[in-house]
């Protein structure tokens, strides 16, 4: 009974017979398929072809609601209002495209430019692209909507008007730079964005030509989070694009895919403080920044001048854009992070810390100020021409004596000053949420050697010591610097507390991030703090007029030269606007346990003491008021039996656990009011 025996006998015969059967069955099956295909494609092909041509699905997008931006108390800052957008689907106008477009151009009073854009698209669209609706005009008026609805029949099924949420910046110019704006996606960008969506396996739909995309600020940085997932509405239409009412060929569940709204950004701003700062700040151009000293979260961010993002979001004309670009005040510039300024005397804290830590100034050491300082045959002037006499650190910082710092500058040299400037966060981007930061300049000797003809000379350290020369900072870096002086930590400034889903669940939370401790001895901190206290609270202090009775404010004024001083001192009103000095004030409070840091920059306004400090102290006072008010409100709303526990000393008491957020519907209704 071997293998060969059995295979030689009956089984293969049996097996083969079965395989012949199998072959026959398979052949029959394929013949069946073939005849079926013949029946469908050849015999009934014409009929099915007609049915196919009378039978299209028009896919209309249901745009997702873009996420809101809210302040820390849940107040809506940026949302969307309903608007109407006109779409054009080339396929359905057949041969009559020119006519339809001509009528549309008249009805919507489209500009030459806009008409050309649509015509180009119509001409170049091939194949299935002709079935895709193409945006003609965004945010049409009520009147235009009525006209189009009335002339429906003339426009054929190629024209659709769809409700589309339009971005709404509720407070206009305020916060403009921070929020950013939106406009149409560019052709190259389109490819890049879609590639990114694909690479990250996003469930969002690809961007299409005509889509709006976040530009600048948080709109851009959080584009993905804010965007949401568009829905689709499928309508069966005939060859002319008109909906077929009688035959709803598409199963119920496939007719509409609901849009998923984007996620909301909860910002750390307190809009009440922001509004107050906007009102109080007198500058034409400049920045007001307020930050929690112990977390690095921004409380208010005024940045002037700015363009209303509502204007930028939409079809702004070329002339308007050109006017903005040509404005000498540069309203497109996000000054808080994108402009370099000399820090002026506000930089003296850095020099002071460097001098004490490096042993260039012994504790209690003083310098005699005759009103000028001489080095290598050159004379450096003090701010006070008559001189301050003998000054120690407290006096020098408080009264902003330049000679004292010239002396420290000579002793220290640029390298040792730069070392401490860097430790305090200068000379590199702060890591803020919004992209596009400039890094600032914290020059050391090597820096001068590399950039300045003739290289580094000791005189440069003198200019550096008083915040002139080549040191450059952004207002946000100033904020980080003073927070570091106040708390000993270099914070990453942040403005987004958390990202929330549309129904309020927290998607992502941003904890405070400190980028490093500043290794300053307690004695050094104390000595510098004494100087900063003197600047505000001592009778000789430069900001004496801005002291507060509610809290102890510590700060430093600064006046940054824009052009080299001439032989004669001039009053601000006597020089051209763009040649006037910038006024700085940087402060924190309460001095013994700092909780808020404020920086004010008033461009081309003259002295820090008179044109920046009052705003800063007003903001601090307002913040204290708001905090008290919130505490009262909390107490008032708490049930009488349960005594409200006092806020822990180390937690900022105005950080609510979970602010009440207005319902989306309510916000939408408000937007609707606005639109009508």
């Amino acid at each position: 009974m071997t293998l060969g025996e059995r295979f030689g006998t009956e089984r293969p015969v049996d097996g083969r017979r079965r395989l012949v059967w199998a072959g026959a069955i398979v052949s029959l099956a394929f013949l069946l398929l073939l005849s079926r295909l013949y029946h469908l494609q050849i015999l009934r092909g014409e009929e099915f072809k007609e049915r196919a041509d009378e039978n299209f699905v028009k896919e209309l997008r249901v745009p997702a609601d873009r996420g809101f931006m809210l302040d820390r108390n849940g107040r809506v800052l940026v949302d969307s209002r309903p608007s109407y957008e006109v779409f054009f689907t080339p396929y359905f106008c057949g041969k009559g495209c020119d006519e339809v477009l001509g009528r549309l151009a008249t009805l919507l009073s489209l500009s030459q430019e806009e008409v050309q854009r649509v015509r180009d698209h119509e001409r170049t669209a091939r194949g299935l692209v002709r079935f895709r609706p193409f945006g003609v005009k965004v945010d049409i008026t009520r009147d235009e909507l009525d006209v189009i609805e009335a002339r429906r029949m003339e426009l054929s099924g190629a024209v659709d008007v769809l409700p589309v949420p339009h971005r709404n910046y509720r407070h206009g110019v305020a916060g403009s730079h921070l929020f950013g704006y939106m406009n149409e996606v560019g052709a190259e960008e389109l490819g890049r964005l879609n590639e990114e969506l694909e690479r990250t396996d996003s469930d969002q739909r690809p961007y299409q030509a005509g889509d709006y995309v976040g530009r600048r600020g948080l709109e851009r940085r959080f584009e993905r989070e804010l965007r949401g997932v568009d829905g689709v509405q499928r309508v069966v239409v005939d060859a002319r694009g008109n909906a077929k009412r009688d035959s709803d060929l598409i199963p119920e569940e496939q007719r509409q895919t609901a849009a998923m709204p984007g996620q909301n950004l909860v910002l750390s701003l307190d809009w009440r403080l922001q509004e107050f700062a906007e009102r109080t700040f007198p500058g034409t151009a400049g920045v007001v920044l307020a930050m929690e000293a112990k977390t690095g979260f921004i409380l208010a961010l005024v940045d002037r001048p700015a363009v209303d993002p509502n204007k930028l979001t939409g079809r702004i004309s070329r002339a308007e854009l050109a006017a903005i670009a040509a404005d000498p005040l540069q309203p497109q510039l996000f000054r808080a992070i994108q402009q370099h300024y000399h820090p002026g005397s506000t930089f003296k804290v850095v020099t002071s810390i460097a001098a004490l830590e490096e042993g260039a100034l012994r504790p209690g050491g003083s310098v005699y100020c005759p009103g000028h300082y001489t080095l290598g045959g050159r004379r450096w002037r003090c701010d006070k021409e008559s001189g301050h006499g003998p000054v120690d650190l407290e006096h020098a910082l408080g009264a902003s004596c330049d000679v004292f710092y010239y002396a420290l500058g000579e002793r220290l040299g640029a390298d040792r000053i730069a070392r401490w400037g860097t430790l305090l966060g200068l000379g590199r981007p702060t890591g803020f949420d919004v992209p596009g930061e400039v890094p600032g300049v914290m020059p050391d000797a090597a820096w001068h050697d590399a950039r300045i003809p003739g290289g580094y000379r000791p005189g440069m350290a003198l200019n550096l010591a008083i915040g002139q020369g080549d040191v450059n900072v952004t207002p946000l870096q100033q904020l980080v610097l003073y927070a570091a002086v106040a708390t000993g930590k270099v914070w990453r400034p942040q403005v987004v507390l958390r990202v929330e889903g549309a129904d309020g669940e927290v998607v992502r939370e941003f904890p405070p991030v400190d980028l490093g401790r500043v290794p300053v001895k307690p004695e050094t901190r104390e000595a510098v703090l004494k100087g900063l206290l003197a600047a505000v609270n001592a009778p000789f202090g430069t900001a004496h007029g801005s002291r507060l009775k509610e809290t102890v404010l510590a700060g430093k004024t600064g006046t940054a030269q824009v052009v080299a001083l001439g032989a004669k001192r001039l009053k601000a009103s006597e020089v051209d606007y763009f040649e006037r000095d910038h006024a700085w004030f940087a402060a924190f409070a309460p001095a013994d346990d700092p909780e808020i840091v404020v920086v004010v920059l008033n461009e081309h306004s003259g002295f820090g003491a008179s044109n920046a400090a009052p705003t800063a102290s007003a903001v601090v006072r307002k913040w204290l008021e708001l905090r008290e008010q919130d505490a009262r409100d909390r107490q008032g709303s708490a049930p009488p039996t349960a005594a409200p526990p006092p806020a822990p000393a180390d937690a900022p008491p105005d950080l609510p656990g979970k602010p009440a957020r207005p319902a989306r519907a309510a916000a939408g209704a408000e937007g609707a009011d606005r639109a009508s």
Partner: protein
């Protein structure tokens, strides 16, 4: 050492002949269909989110490698380990029911790290190998077992029914039916007594009647509408009618690559997978369909020939199973798209998008190639 030597001695000698016997026509057919498949997907996916044809090409590459591996290994090795594979697949099928990923109401996917796959696709291969082993051993008994009676069928039936039930539970009616069809074909190839056949048919009819109330409503509706597709155009008949319009409107020579309006304008939601044939039929017409039918027919016919020339029982049954798998997939899918059969989720071999499906089909082709290469006893 001696074992290895033996191995070398056994494999080394017929190496050249092995290469000579490699069924090049089979490889050529598979690659031709694959190429058409990727080309067709490129058309179907132009409006979709991701270019699936790129992914599909990668799957094809992996599939070819898997097929070569499957072909190189001596079938006797599969015979030895058939039950191990069967056991692993059974466990995976249980696992998928328990913690699989749900897509459109059915649990079919299992994720391991970044890779997710459908164990049900590999269940087909496992059933083929397990049944082939069963019948091969029966054939070596003395005296060899003649045509099977009802009692003899119990074992093979159980081998098929375990994965069948698990997959059906998914619920994945299409794949479950394919597993049953493969098993049935192999059992018929092994020989069944007429009386037993009649009894099984009766049981099937009774079983189907009993199972009817337990089917998901959509499954029941699909079968109902199969008998009268135009009666319910809006609901369950939707797929059938739309797909027939797509196929029919292709007429003689089709609308051209990328020009299909029916399939691409989203009348058919599963255009990448189960309804891919409608894209082909619409864009390439009757001529294109004939070409594709010829390719599949040639593939199945060579499978049958390979089964006929297999050197042993195991090889023959493996070939029968692999061929049955390709045939049933192709026939049921095209029958469904053309409205001949009710709509069930069955893929079209090498045309439908999907990694697990492509891989399983290529492994089946690899098994066929392996059997063909060793067609005579050395």
């Amino acid at each position: 050492m001696p074992l290895e030597m033996a191995g070398i001695a056994r494999v080394g000698a017929p190496e050249q002949r092995t290469l000579a016997r490699f069924p090049w026509h089979l490889a050529l057919l598979a690659l031709a269909i694959s190429a058409l498949g990727v080309w067709n997907l490129a058309s179907a996916s132009r409006s979709a989110h991701a270019p699936v044809w790129v992914t599909q090409s990668v799957f094809m590459g992996i599939g070819v490698v898997a097929a070569l591996l499957a072909a190189v290994v001596d079938p006797r090795r599969y015979q030895r380990h058939a039950w191990v594979l069967y056991g692993v697949v059974a466990v995976l099928l249980v696992l998928v029911l328990w913690k699989g990923r749900t897509v459109m109401g059915a649990r079919r996917w299992l994720s391991v790290g970044p890779v997710s796959f459908q164990p049900s696709e590999f269940a087909k291969i496992a059933v083929i190998l397990a049944l082939a082993r069963w019948f091969a051993i029966d054939a070596e008994r003395s005296p060899p077992r003649g045509p099977y009676g009802l009692r003899g069928l119990a074992g093979p039936a159980a081998v098929v029914l375990v994965p069948f039930a698990l997959i059906l539970r998914g619920p994945d009616l299409g794949t479950a039916l394919i597993v049953a069809a493969i098993g049935g074909t192999m059992i018929l190839a092994a020989g069944v007594r007429w009386k037993a056949l009649a009894a099984v048919a009766a049981i099937a009819v009774i079983g189907a009647t009993a199972a009817w109330p337990h089917l998901k409503p959509y499954q029941r509706k699909r079968v109902e509408t199969f008998f009268n597709p135009e009666g319910d155009v809006r609901g369950a008949g939707y797929h059938s009618v739309q797909s027939m319009i797509a196929v029919g409107s292709g007429q003689g020579f089709g609308k051209g690559w990328g020009q299909g309006t029916q399939t691409l304008l989203s009348f058919l939601p599963e255009q990448h997978t189960d309804f891919i044939f409608s894209v082909w039929a619409e864009e390439h017409g009757f001529a294109g369909c004939v070409l594709l039918l010829l390719l599949y027919y040639a593939l199945v016919a060579s499978g049958i020939t390979i089964a006929g020339n297999a050197r042993d029982g195991f090889g023959r049954f493996v070939a029968v199973g692999a061929t049955a798998m390709i045939f049933w997939h192709a026939f049921v899918n095209m029958g469904m798209v053309t409205g001949l059969l009710p709509v069930v989720g069955v893929t079209l071999p090498l045309l439908s998008y999907g990694g697990s499906s492509v891989l399983a089909i290529y492994v089946a082709i690899g098994l066929l190639a392996g059997v063909a290469t060793r067609r005579f006893v050395n």
